[in-house]
Subunit: 467 residues, 2 copies
């Protein structure tokens, strides 16, 4: 059983790190510790004992080696925008913050490649490559403040993942520091390469448990020059959910296909977007390409399919400003739902696309039965639903816990996964066995042990604790 490090151990760690880090690179003032005690997962507050801010790979190695040799828990930390508690220091110890390694090393237009340090903010890379006519598609909602290192750790998705894939699909190579402190360069610089086992794939999405990226080589695409967006309203969430399938079966591959249910629509209405009276659900559909009329024609077809599926209103953005307005409706959801009740728990399930209407109905029924408000929105194109439980007082918490467990169970029963893009981390660690058989978990435990025998690297994440 892992415990917090003793004061003696921490003193030894401080002493050792003082030789390799500048004074400002190792902090234990209360403000800093407080700042690093939480992420966006609402799963609690866990104070680290120390926060290190290495400025280069060799400093990362020194910090990793020092923690490893003293068996002090080390937790890599990005921008703390994670929703599954992956960067929480459950047993104290050292938070390894990569924010000082935030250089865009190169944007190679000819190769369609960018090389970055892990602390680069996702949205900043996007802007930098777009200025050169290139495109980095993964767009987690937190893109204005999350870091690429964190995206790698969590294999972040986002609305555009539906057409363009997730972070993993854009990572060509990594400089990676193992828990042993060994630095590996894995992957390949060309777009394609199959030499050896896919270590990049193993490290991406390992949620800071198998080591940490110190340099990231990303594939870029040509920037689509035309993007068109529509917000399509339905009289019921069931009709909206069915329209998702209809659009895809019509052979259209939008870059985003976002669903808002009745609670979400009501929460947003009047706050950033005015819905028509009959709207009880909506889809935000975005198509892109390189040809104005073609992209517009595709959006028109989406509209026709949705109308046949029962759409009651379609608003097509006629300008970038209007496009921004439609997306503002999507982006305000989380905040608007939070305003409805005092507490909000957001789950991140994904189901096979055809199961979406039924799963949403089951979630609603469950909410009604338990007397809880359930709001569902998310990336319906790939079956990834953000199901939210809203409640007002701590006294409701046992029912909320029951709701979460039932939600995850019914997701798995519908052929789904407990996490579409947020990761398991700490928040869902104890639910992993709902989805994965013991043999699968055991193999992962063995992989973890192979790379981190003492278990000091981000302890308590992903895998259920051994009893």
């Amino acid at each position: 059983m892992r415990t917090r490090p003793t004061p003696q151990t921490l003193a030894a760690l401080r002493e050792r790190l003082s030789k390799v880090l500048e004074p400002g690179q190792l902090r234990d003032d209360p403000e800093t510790l407080e700042e690093f005690a939480q992420d966006e997962s609402d799963t609690g507050k866990f104070l680290p004992d120390l926060v290190a801010f290495p400025a280069n790979t060799s400093q990362v190695v020194e910090v990793v080696r020092a923690c490893g040799s003293l068996d002090v828990p080390l937790t890599p930390v990005g921008a703390r925008s994670g929703k599954s508690g992956g960067s929480l220091c459950l047993y104290g110890g050292l938070a390894l913050c990569l924010s000082r390694m935030a250089r865009i090393v190169s944007i190679q237009k000819e190769n369609g490649v960018a090389v970055v340090e892990p602390g680069v903010i996702t949205g900043e890379l996007m802007k930098a490559v777009e200025a050169q006519g290139l495109f980095y598609p993964p767009d987690p909602n937190s893109l204005e403040f999350c870091s690429l290192g964190g995206n790698i750790a969590e294999n972040a998705g986002g609305p555009r993942a539906f057409k363009y894939g997730v972070t993993r699909d854009y990572v060509l190579a990594l400089e990676w520091v193992l828990p042993s402190g060994e630095v590996l360069r894995v992957g390949h610089q060309p777009i394609k390469g199959v030499a050896g086992y896919d270590l990049v794939g193993l490290f991406v999405g390992s949620e800071g448990t198998l080591g940490v990226a110190t340099e990231i080589t990303l594939q870029l695409l040509p920037l689509p020059t035309v993007v068109k967006t529509a917000l399509i309203c339905f009289a019921s969430v069931a009709e909206a959910a069915k329209a998702v399938g209809a659009v895809l079966q019509a052979g259209i591959l939008p870059r985003t296909l976002e669903l808002l249910d009745d609670v979400s629509v009501k929460a947003i209405d009047g706050r950033g977007y005015d819905f028509p009276p009959r709207a009880k659900a909506a889809l935000i559909v975005e198509v892109d390409g390189g040809h104005e009329e073609a992209v517009f024609a595709e959006l028109v077809r989406v509209g026709e399919v949705c109308e046949r599926a029962g759409a009651v209103d379609t608003a097509v953005a006629q300008s970038d400003a209007q496009r921004e307005q439609l997306w503002a409706a999507r982006r305000v959801v989380s905040r608007a739902l939070r305003a409805l009740k005092k507490f909000k728990i957001s789950e991140d399930v994904a189901v096979p696309r055809a199961e979406i209407p039924r799963v949403i109905e089951e979630l609603k029924a469950m909410g009604a039965e338990l007397g809880l408000t359930v709001a569902t929105y998310g990336h319906a194109g790939d079956g990834n639903l953000h199901a939210n439980i809203l409640y007002d007082s701590e006294a409701e918490r046992p029912r909320v816990e029951e709701a979460i467990a039932r939600m995850l169970k019914l997701t798995v029963k519908a052929g789904g996964t407990i996490t579409g893009e947020h990761g398991v981390g700490y928040a869902k660690r104890d639910y992993l066995a709902l989805e994965q058989a013991q043999g699968v978990i055991t193999l992962q435990r063995e992989l973890k042990r192979l790379m981190d025998p003492s278990g000091f690297f981000n302890p308590g994440k992903i895998l259920p604790l051994v009893p």
Copy 2:
């Protein structure tokens, strides 16, 4: 040091397997052994001692367990279309042929998913899903006869990989038999999912060394309804190679961008395609989408960009028959080159896109220096070049070996990989250390040992032999 199994061991294996397999499912007649002694890698003939044809997962498990407990080398075999010797029984033993597990289990149009057994021929799945308006993009050249199980093992690519990605990008879930005989279900049924480590990624491309797929869940896309193809000729391979970069920098993402060099053009000319006199190199460019005029407009833009880059002739297919004719030129290359000389060694390097012109020049110079004909063609869009060395007599073999080593070295020096899509297998095992540092190889060796401690599962592949 692994050796061939003894007759006593083989007798014990036969005895044990006779209890779980029907008589026709276990063969050791000379014709069958001969048939399974080679693949498309030209790396030699290695007779298995036995070939097993399991019909379901539990039979696979029995065969794996039997070989494991008797320490008989077991090599999973697809359609033997591999080009790196991955399915060769280097130490004899048992070839595990999956050809009797060839059922398309389901095509779920609503979910955009297909479930298949490993023996399904890639081209047959393509046809089956296209009949339903769906699209399975990965298109290895051997698609008419290769199997999806083999594609999974090798993480197969193909011309369309440039826009659509490789096999890995379409594998959602696997039923997987580990070398221990344990059956795992890994991955997720929905399009998206990040629960736990990416075991699917670890298994795809493991070249039959970490176990074998017995069921495969694949993601499908909506079928693009419009495809346009052009063959664009250049007066030099340098100009053609530079045009590749120019097309992409113009913001166009064709689904294929194939390069033929002067030797390839000359080899094909008059055999399936008639090139204009000035053509010394060519690009085959294919664009696709859902809108006739848009796709055509994109192809026109490709033509304009190529003309500015020095194209001397552009042929646009005006019909499916003409499209087929252009592709026939591409498909005949390998055979046409083989006809030029008695022997042909095909390498499968990939380099960062901007390096293509220089690498092709260096390969030519090296060929001239060693007195060997070097022909280069391939998937230039993703930097994946099939570099062929042509020669007439076995006496030239030492120079050919030198050419291969130099080719791989100059590829790695240019930031490339020794294999873009064919895999390491047996053919490139001893070159892996050119590209990967010792630490990376050691970690892979440990992963292999974790899942196959005795090393009986496809021995001698990917990783250099320990001295």
